[in-house]
Subunit: 202 residues, 2 copies
DNA sequence: GAAAGAAGTGAACCATCATTCAGAGCTTCT
DNA sequence: AGAAGCTCTGAATGATGGTTCACTTCTTTC
């Protein structure tokens, strides 16, 4: 045998792949899925368009990877907050705040994940992640009902409503972003979410 | 002058245009915006692809017309119910029911209007119609607050949340459509909407 | 240093549609 | 009937952008 990938070479290839994914994420964040052409992404990563195909079998596969990474982080964070011990209402409240703060911190990415027009493969992935959000929310709602902290309700409908409501409010933030203080905005959003699950009023 | 459109001829052309719009709506309902190519739509209407351009300057213009017609009907219906005289909570409740029933009656169209991937021109139109939904919901929420029927809240956030929540619940109806009785589903959805605005509990 | 094999390049290729257009077929009016 | 002007057709055109591939460049091994 005259050639065998050396560990350093493997690392270098993996690093290139990582860079490709993260540059693609940036491009998508900035210009959306539709405008993120293979050559734009390749340029951003400093490689030729053809080289993308050394790392991914198709543009779709790269797009799905980008989506999974970014969406996966969000689901993970949300899951941690929601699975923390303690009062379900308190956990939901914190989860909404964390989710909203992260989305407002990186609006471009939030929009890309939640609502931006995308090719079918990414759309399918989005469905899957929405499902995960619903599962997480449904758990905390069920928990609240079990503990008697929340009124009886259809946990799956409430969960879908929560993810839809929060997404809509965050994606089309109302009015001038500067005008409305972020904290006030988040407080109102959280209050809405708590009303939505029927949490006891103060 | 040797030729002038006769009234009958004008009617015939308008009828063709109407047929084109309604056939396009059907195609979009069935296969979504992405798959609704000019030739597919023309075939459905029984005309040649080129003839579409006798009635619309571009595919986008036709798509926008299709969207406006269908979405306009929904906004109108919703507006009528929400503007009826009477208790705001009652009006909201009826509005959610009407909206949901119509959406479930024609899921394909509901999906096309609310969430299906679409070209930018349709996306822009969708934003405009979402804004109209928000305006309608915000009005009823304000009305409720004024009358003391609803707790103080940010009407715009609640309105966005309502439209997002209802849309999400309807677009990804949970489980088998047959399994869950439509009436139960709608009752739960309505209950959620009322909690969301903080309506007094029974 | 040279052979073997992999990665990287980017211009050419190709598929997909929206759009155009030259000609065929109608309708209107004299 | 015939001229004029319109609608309709559908194959050709054109733009876009993902994908391929012959070639170059780099790495490894001996």
């Amino acid at each position: 045998m005259a050639y065998r990938k050396t560990p350093a070479e493997i690392r270098r290839l993996e690093a290139t792949r990582e860079r490709l994914v993260s540059c693609a994420t940036e491009v998508v964040t900035e210009v959306g899925w539709a405008q993120a052409s293979v050559s734009a992404v390749a340029d951003a990563a400093g490689i030729a368009a053809g080289s993308v195909y050394q790392h991914f079998p198709s543009k779709s596969a790269l797009a799905v990877e980008v989506f999974r990474r970014a969406a996966g982080r969000e689901v993970e964070v949300l899951g941690e907050v929601l699975h923390a011990p303690g009062d379900p209402v308190e956990r939901l409240s914190r989860a909404v705040e964390v989710f909203a703060r992260r989305a407002l911190q990186n609006r471009g990415l939030a929009y890309a994940l939640l609502a931006a027009p995308a090719e079918p493969a990414v759309g399918a992935e989005r469905l899957e992640f929405r499902r995960r959000y619903r599962v997480l929310f449904a758990e905390v709602v069920r928990d609240g009902m079990t503990r008697g902290a929340l009124p009886q309700q259809d946990d799956e409908i409430t969960a879908a409503a929560l993810s839809g409501a929060i997404g809509e409010v965050l994606v089309y933030p109302l009015g001038d972003p500067e005008k409305r203080a972020v904290d006030t905005f988040i407080a109102e959003l959280t209050a809405m979410a708590l009303r939505c699950v029927g949490a006891p009023r103060d």
